[in-house]
């Protein structure tokens, strides 16, 4: 029974994707969006039913195999489901956001030629993402992992005639492949030490793995668990866009906005966070790996936030915000506050999807203009978009009582409690990040919706609120963005919701530490008024107000005054430059060198054609011996005979 329900959840979007993808020509636009929305709606309703069963009716976690993929050398590789509290929560988040995005797409892609293709892709994505979160083994995890990457590739390059889009999707795929490279090695390590791809077996044998050592370089021994966990985390760094593998995410904004919301904010990019939380029984056993996770996450959280301040493209600002928030989630993982990471993942999925869809609504109204310098004062033209986006922004900066407030505050406190090496740096980054977040978020709000109207007259005349298929998802996402934290912070974070799904060693249990003081959401909110982050956020909003509403002349002057800093930020710390001019160009140069020198000059030139030439030359030389003159031959015979005789005489 349960297995059939879960199969339906996963396969309904796949079936819809196939029908819309292969049959789009016959079923038409309405057919395509109807069938895919139906598929995802079925998944959402059933996922919600599964979550309810586990949460309220105390249903046990489900684990079972669906089919055996391959058996070799005694290793049984299966496709199967593991649905516990962690998975059930992810399933609901994924299918809900996906459903909202499906509806929104009807409006956003209304005039696009690739309408049916787009629906097929996002449904396919939903299937892949569900397979990823529902997996009970590393094989299927990797399947889902790469499959979401594939759909992301297809969707970033959705407008395939744009050079920037097909550059961005190749870049996204390759950078993700660097992550997957590490991920695959981590999986190979698991198989090496456990002889199985199943989570259950890996978790069961984890303590033994942590006892093993591993020689990477001669004379240097590593803890096997640290090697495996760091390799796995490199995968997460690719998918969840952590420094230095973050470079693909801002460029991914070349794709249509609905997928920026669905894939590059709410779901796919959180796969890495989910994966590390799922692997908590492994990560808990390696302090080294946790420390690595913590530092990478902290760096991403703060330094990507800075970039949001200098960007003028509304979608890219939200994208940098996503990077920074993913860093926050990663920090939580490194501090062993996996629950806080997942909790922030959930609230972020709602408010960031909302912010992206809000930005998309602005972009529709502005006729696909994304530069905030040509916006301003949109509040009165787009009231629904304005208010919902504002709610999302407040959730993002952690306005007391909003969903983002609970998740971010819990996370910051957890990091403050952590004693993993690097915790002081991490605590600084996440606290300072609050100020930065508020600054760039309200800079965006003010530049877009307030102040002077900077668009041209033609655009202004045509400004109007988006149709209901666009605004309805905004409203439906705004509701959880505001309230979901209040209702879930206690049960999810502090009342053992993740028990059994997430394992935390007692000495790492920072959330438990905070939980002891936790009573009610109200008290939690009140407590925030006595701590720093709230005031930092307020200061950030105030500064944004000063710079972009009160004294709009100041930013330009600041830019001149702080020219070196601005240059660093404007060039995005030169990551892209290095990737393109050193790594990519270097690989091509090495490839060309190998080809011209190795293959063409040495092997083909010297050995293959060289030996052919040598034979030819030898033949040409010996040819002269065969002159055809009898006296030449007679002379040679005489010489030869006398030499032979001389040799014989000399021997005796």
């Amino acid at each position: 029974m349960m297995q059939n329900v879960l199969l339906t959840i996963a396969l309904a979007p796949l079936a819809a994707a196939i029908i819309a993808g292969l049959g789009g020509r016959w079923i038409g636009r309405v057919g395509a969006h109807s069938v895919t929305i139906l598929g995802v709606a079925v998944s959402f309703v059933l996922s919600a039913w599964v979550l309810k069963g586990q949460l309220l009716d105390g249903a046990p976690a489900f684990e079972g195999a669906v089919y055996t993929w391959l058996v070799s050398d005694g290793i049984r590789m299966q496709v199967g489901f593991l649905v516990d509290h962690l998975t059930a929560l992810m399933m609901v988040v994924v299918t809900f956001v996906s459903l909202m995005v499906h509806v929104y797409t009807i409006g956003y892609m209304h005039d696009d030629d690739g309408y049916t293709r787009f629906f097929a892709y996002i449904s396919l994505f939903t299937f892949a993402m569900l397979m990823l979160v529902m997996s009970n083994n590393f094989l299927q995890l990797f399947f889902g992992w790469e499959a979401v990457g594939l759909v992301s590739y297809l969707l970033i390059g959705f407008w395939y005639t744009r050079p920037s889009a097909i550059f961005a999707n190749l870049k996204a795929f390759l950078v993700n492949r660097v992550g997957d490279f590490g991920f695959l090695l981590g999986i190979a390590g698991i198989v090496h030490f456990t002889g199985s791809l199943d989570y259950g077996r890996a978790f069961h044998l984890a303590p033994q793995i942590a006892q093993q050592s591993f020689t990477l370089f001669e004379g240097q021994s590593w803890n096997a668990m640290s090697v495996i966990c760091i390799c796995l985390f490199i995968g997460a760094m690719g998918k969840s866009a952590q420094v230095p593998l973050h470079v693909w995410l801002p460029d991914s904004m070349e794709g249509p906005t609905p997928i920026s919301a669905l894939i590059h904010a709410a779901t796919m990019v959180t796969a890495g966070i989910f994966m590390v939380a799922r692997m908590s029984p492994l990560f808990e056993l390696s302090q080294t790996a946790l420390s690595f996770v913590l530092v990478i996450g902290a760096t991403t959280a703060l330094f990507m936030g800075f970039l949001g301040i200098v960007n003028n493209d509304i979608k890219r600002v939200v994208a940098y915000s996503t990077l920074s928030q993913l860093g926050y989630m990663t920090v939580a993982l490194g501090a062993s506050a996996y629950g806080a990471g997942i909790f922030h993942l959930m609230t972020h999925a709602f408010f960031k999807a909302l912010l992206f869809l809000g930005a998309g609504s602005v972009i529709i109204a502005m006729h696909h203009e994304q530069d905030m310098r040509r916006m301003g004062g949109l509040r009165k033209y787009l009231p629904v978009t304005y208010w919902t986006t504002l709610l999302g922004a407040l959730a993002l900066i952690g306005f007391p009582g909003f969903s983002g407030f609970f998740s971010k505050d819990a996370l910051i406190e957890a990091v403050a409690e952590s004693r993993v090496p690097g915790h002081a740096y991490a605590a600084f980054c996440v606290t300072a990040g609050v100020f930065i977040t508020a600054l760039y978020t309200f800079r965006m709000i003010f530049m877009t919706f307030h102040g002077e109207e900077r668009m041209d007259a033609h655009t202004r005349e045509h400004l109007h609120e988006s149709p209901w298929v666009v605004t309805l998802p905004l409203v439906l996402l705004a509701i959880p963005s505001v309230v979901v934290g209040w209702f879930t912070v206690g049960p999810v974070l502090f009342h053992g919701y993740f028990d059994g799904a997430i394992v935390v060693r007692p000495e790492h249990d920072v959330l438990g530490e905070i939980g002891r003081e936790y009573t009610t959401p109200l008290a939690f909110t009140a407590h925030a008024f006595t701590s720093l982050p709230l005031y930092l956020a307020a200061a950030g909003v105030a500064l944004a107000w000063l710079l972009y509403l009160r004294r709009p002349d100041l930013p330009a002057r600041l830019r001149t005054a702080l020219a070196p800093v601005y240059r660093v930020l404007d060039n995005k710390y030169w990551f892209d430059w290095v990737n393109e001019n050193v790594i990519a160009a270097g690989s091509r140069a090495v490839g060309r060198l190998f080809w011209r020198v190795g293959d063409e000059f040495l092997i083909d030139g010297a050995l293959v054609n060289g030996s052919a030439r040598t034979v030819g030359w030898l033949a040409a030389v010996t040819r002269h011996v065969q002159s055809g003159y009898l006296y030449h031959y007679a002379f040679a015979m005489i010489i030869g005979l006398s030499a032979l005789l001389a040799w014989l005489l000399w021997r005796t």
Binding site: D73, T161, A188, G591
Partner: protein, 502 residues
């Protein structure tokens, strides 16, 4: 079990090819239909081979044995096991597709063209089913002739250079193999493979024999540094030639390692495994980088083939290093499984990619990447296929391209972290050269009038690519039927390779 199925599979295409030849180029249409009928009959005949195969046994099946050259005690001895069967199925399938793909494209001497492919099909099936070393050698060398002609007659501008290079390269390698076979025959007085497996050999003998085999098989695979014939051969070969070359002929090398090198010279293979593993990893990285900078689509896919075949040779030999690292051969079968799946998958995927290039070449008569761009605007169906096969070539899970690489990487990790590390570089390099190709050819705005004039796939092309697409996806989603057939045989090979002959 007595049956004449293998003889039928071997001789039906050969005799059918002769018949097509007799029909002649003047009656091209009759020749084509006859060729298709023969190819389909062979494909149909290979179905009972699969259905009747006992997958639980490692023993030779469908055995046929009768005296062939009594004075040399060489028999006409055919039989297949779990290694041969998938390769034979790949051969019969590929030939049908190649015949369909060449249907109207080949205007010059069509009957001879189809006949060459049919005869080659029979010879290749002979190679995969021969259980007598001399018989094997005859098929092995005979197989060169049709391919020599295919490249030399229906090839591109530099076809003569390419085909002679191909012939000399492979022939030079094979001669050493003959010497080794004769040497062993002089010791056993018997050419049957089973006798050679039992033959005790000193380490010096084994090393020399191993190197002789190595010369033959490494060229066929091809391994670095004896790979340079392949890009030239592929570039000049007609589409069908490229497909058969990539899909089947390259597999002869891997097949030879499994059939000859590992069981006959286990100690030498053990002693020299570093050489093979080293060259395999070089193939993945060095060749991967070279593939990145190719401007000719066929050359790019040819280099990609070499890099992919690196996984086959790595998988074949990494078992010894697993034993050295862990003290047991657990994981060696996994590696061999990976190598075999990689061979089958590569046959499908690179065959399909060469067909894709052929589709474009037939329309615009150039293979230069720079001459394309934005093909998907005018050929959306073709574009979808091309992206699918490119993803399979990049080893995307869910396609067959993933399975073999995955298994080999898992096994290599057991031997040495750095083997797995270098092998896994293919994740990045493979994606880079394949998807960059896709970006430049398929995506983008319409680049020029040539691209603007392109017509999408016709029914014939759609059929061929569609069959391959289904096979690539089926193997990726459910590889168990394939690996189940091979598993007992591969376990047997591991047993043979792990027992010392000293």
């Amino acid at each position: 079990m007595h049956s004449s199925l293998l003889s039928l599979l071997t001789w039906l295409p050969i005799l059918g090819g002769v018949a097509v030849l007799l029909v002649g180029d003047a009656r091209a249409s009759v020749a084509r239909w006859l060729a298709l009928a023969v190819a389909l009959a062979a494909l149909a005949a290979s179905v009972p081979l699969y259905l009747g195969f006992d997958a639980s046994s490692a023993a030779l099946q469908f055995v046929e044995r009768m005296p062939w050259i009594p004075s040399l005690r060489s028999d006409y001895y055919l039989g297949i096991d779990g290694i041969s069967l998938p390769l034979i199925l790949l051969t019969t399938l590929s030939t049908v597709l190649v015949v369909i793909a060449g249907w109207t494209v080949i205007e010059k001497r069509p009957a001879q063209y189809f006949a060459a492919f049919l005869i080659m099909e029979g010879l290749m099936i002979g190679v995969f089913s021969a259980a007598d070393a001399l018989l094997f050698y005859v098929f092995w060398e005979a197989m060169l002739i049709p391919m020599f002609l295919i490249i030399g007659i229906w090839g591109g501008a530099r076809r003569i250079y390419a085909t002679i290079k191909f012939f000399l390269y492979t022939f030079l390698g094979s001669v050493f193999m003959l010497v080794a076979l004769v040497y062993m025959y002089l010791k056993t007085g018997d050419y049957s493979l089973a006798a050679l497996y039992r033959l005790p050999l000193s380490l010096t003998e084994q090393v020399l024999i191993f190197l002789a085999f190595f010369a033959a098989f490494a060229v066929k695979v091809p391994m670095v540094p004896v790979h340079t014939w392949l890009p030239d051969a592929h570039v000049e070969a007609p589409t069908g030639g490229s497909v058969i070359l990539a899909a089947i002929m390259l597999k002869m090398g891997g097949y030879g390692f499994l059939r000859f090198s590992l069981p006959i010279t286990p100690d030498a293979a053990h002693a020299l495994d570093w050489l093979v593993i080293g060259l395999s990893l070089v193939a993945v990285v060095y060749i991967g980088l070279i593939a990145l900078v190719q401007q000719d689509m066929k050359k790019l896919i040819a280099y990609s083939s070499i890099a992919h075949m690196g996984f086959v040779t790595l998988g074949c030999f990494v078992g010894y290093e697993i034993a050295a690292a862990t003290g047991g051969y657990g994981g060696a079968t996994l590696a061999l499984s990976g190598a075999m799946v990689q061979m089958i998958s590569h046959g499908l995927v690179s065959g399909a990619l060469f067909l894709c290039v052929g589709v474009l070449y037939d329309r615009l008569h150039t293979r230069d990447i720079g001459a394309y761009g934005g093909v998907i605007n005018t050929m959306p169906v073709f574009g979808a296929f091309m992206v699918l096969f490119a993803m399979a070539n990049a080893g995307l899970p869910g396609t067959s391209g993933f399975v073999g690489e995955f298994l080999v990487i898992l096994a290599s990790f057991k031997a040495n972290f750095w083997f797995a590390f270098l092998a896994a570089m293919t994740l990045i390099l493979g994606a880079a050269y394949t998807l960059w190709l896709v970006k430049r050819v398929v995506f983008g705005a319409v680049a020029n009038d040539g691209v603007a004039s392109l017509k999408d796939l016709n029914g014939r092309e759609f059929l061929v690519l569609g069959v391959l697409a289904v096979a690539v996806l089926a193997l990726g989603v459910y590889p168990k039927p394939l690996t189940d057939v091979m598993e007992p045989t591969l376990r047997h090979v591991v047993q043979l390779m792990s027992v010392s002959k000293l």
